[in-house]
Amino acid sequence: MKSKLNLDPKVVSSARQHAANIAHDMQEFIDRHTTVSTERTIVRLLGVDGVDEVDNPLPNVLVDHLKESGALPTGAAYLIGNAIVQTGKTPQEIAEEVAAGKLDLTKLPTCPQAEAAEALKPSIKATFERIDAQKAKRKEYLETIGEGPEPYIYVIVATGNIYEDVIQAQAAARQGADIIAVIRTTAQSLLDYVPYGPTTEGFGGTYATQENFRIMRKALDEVGEEVGRYIRLCNYSSGMCMPEIAAMGALERLDVMLNDAIYGILFRDINMQRTLVDQYMSRVIIGYCGIIFNSGEDNYLTTDDAIEAAHTVTASQFINEQFAVLANIAEEQMGLGHAFEMDPNTEDGFLMELAQAQMAREIFPKARLKYMPPTKFMTGNIFKGHLQDALFNLATVWTHQSLLLTGMLTEAIHTPLMQDRYLAIENAKYIFNNCRHIGDEMEFKQDGICQKRAQEVLAKADALLAEVEKEGLFSTIEKGIFGGVKRPFDGGHGLEGVCTKGENYFNPFIELFKDHK
């Protein structure tokens, strides 16, 4: 396809190569380490679920037990496999006995690694049967009731109460939404466990729990059948429990998950080693399950300036793409993020936004680009806000974005009311319909404002990636290049949950998830 922005393909491939080198460099670090959350993910995938009598999730009880006995480097897979060999019990029974204080996994006789791995096979098989059934179900829905056209209309629900969320979500689907994202409650990202069961109390969002996923999945399947469109479900595979939530999403058929290699480091102050190791485990799961991941580059523009820092968004998209390649994620599942966040008082601001969006589309032609609406410059003036969203919707349809995070006129005030969502979807549909083919009709002037802007941003992204490659990703983040936020290598939340892999360590799931056949 010819570049409408006259982008130099050599610069694009140079940037991509730098990003690939950066990701490879990180992968060596990742491969040498594991984390408590990665281990809990393995435990969950082996079929362990439930809580002990004081509501501690059993995966936490088990992994804490390993950590306290200094056995984290050996890993949960070997120790559970060994326990199966020695006791003949299932992983769930083993976890329950550990919780009851009846079993110490580190005090059992030990078998060879191959034997432990063999003992895990029935549990692994059961899990894959469940996940494969969910994949088949999605496929069946897409083949029978089908889906809405791109850009998919993505809206959030955030009442704090999963049952209220269901009402809001079904209403949104009837109004035309294609994707429902259940926003998580404030500060869940810093919890080092995933709460259990249905929940009805949250602040600015609803707890992500496996039961809540199940409740919402069922509600969306129902309303999807009613409206004759598959309705996708989105939640957050991010924060301290990033890979565990990916595993729960795999089991409960989530379709979209927010998942970014760097977001947690910058915006939640989660330790960088922890996040990078966790994102790998989460992404191999996401890749296998056909889930679209959404990266969080849009957030950089809330703490940094959208005009000055545009190239950091592009650079980060390249990095997120290359981490995804290493996890064997198909391009169609790469929901690379960006945003319409320039100061609305900027002359020709719309042209720069258009250039940025078109550039992202051209650089990542098959990606399911996730486009974030104006947020930072939304104010209590909802009437102007509705217009800001209209310009955003125009840029979206013009440049063939894939996921439209539908802008709400009340963005600066509260999480959406039912009527806000209706007005937002009406706004988007009006513009999409009236401008459906605008991008095919219009071209950019040779060397005009848009072309020049895009070329400049791309060149700066390439230069930045070259610098990051030289410097290494860790120290780039320490210097505050992304989002203007600095984070130390040994700082932030969750570092105590990271360790290097020991002798008998193995993670049976990585290879299985990476093999999509």
Binding site: A171, Q175, T186, F203, G204, R268, T303, L417, M418, Q419
Partner: protein
């Protein structure tokens, strides 16, 4: 022709103010809301009656539509009847004069004779830093430089999701004159809970009179801050110079010029 008056409107009676549409005292108000009732003529009538109960005469349901089964959205105009006595309104405001950044620096040099030390954070569950950064970070916000750019001011920014205990410990460690708390998320009044916790801990630690306690955020007013036991509160449109003007004058009022250490205050 005698129906022509010389002015468009008569004089406003400030003791009886009501909304203005295009004629004085027409009371014009517009409302948008949803009722949990099925779409239809009964829904329209329901909205009309509701508007009347809210005190709107001649309500006009300009638009209504179904949001989903059982929920109807309305856009209603009407003439409000209630009036307010504007002359009796009192809004508590932060006391003292507001100086600009350069003036603040000089004023502190002349009147306090030492650096003013402040510690700020977005506390507890709140992950929003842009507000507190706008006040503290060098680059500031909307052309207003932050406290790091002020002369004779030493500012520590602890970032977001900082537990109250950690913020207080830092204030003690650096002998802060003032604490700056930011709160952005207000859903289910979580900001009230967090701000109250902070004020109570300050009290419990015996620091309430020894450190100036301020807060800010998109839903914070000076009045709310005072109700919660803070010395001052700063909402939208308030910048570093506003909070520093208050703090430095308060330091002088309390006679802390020579009392660098919290223990001496």
């Amino acid at each position: 022709m005698s129906i022509c008056t010389t002015t468009a409107t008569t004089q406003v009676d400030l003791t009886k103010v009501k909304p203005y549409g295009d004629a004085l005292n027409d009371g014009k108000v517009q409302l948008a809301f949803t009722l949990p009732v099925p779409y239809g003529e009964e829904a329209e009538e329901c909205a009309k009656q509701y508007a009347k109960k809210l005190g709107l005469n001649e309500p006009n349901v300009a638009y209504y539509c179904e949001l989903t089964k059982g929920y109807t959205f309305f856009n209603v105009y009407g003439s409000a009847q209630a009036t307010i006595d504007y002359t009796q309104i009192v809004v508590p405001k932060v006391e003292g004069e507001v100086l600009d950044r350069v003036e603040c620096g000089e004023w502190i040099g002349e009147n306090i004779g030492r650096d003013i030390v402040v510690v700020g954070a977005s506390i507890e569950s709140d992950a929003h830093t842009v507000g507190i950064d706008a006040i503290i970070q060098m680059k500031g916000f909307h052309g207003h430089f932050g406290l790091e750019r002020f002369k004779n001011v030493v500012a520590y920014n602890m970032g977001s999701q900082v537990p109250c205990e950690a913020l207080i410990a830092k204030a003690k460690e650096v002998n802060a004159d003032a604490i700056l708390v930011s709160q952005t998320v207000t859903q289910k009044d979580i900001h009230i809970m967090n701000l109250t916790k902070m004020a109570e801990l300050m009290e419990a630690e015996g620091l309430r009179d020894k450190v100036i306690l301020t807060c800010g955020g998109p839903r914070i007013s000076h009045e709310l801050a005072q109700e919660l036991g803070y010395d001052a509160g700063f909402g939208p449109g308030k910048y570093a110079e506003h909070v520093m003007s208050f703090i430095m004058q308060e330091v002088q009022k309390r006679g802390w010029e020579k009392k660098v250490n919290i223990a001496d205050r």
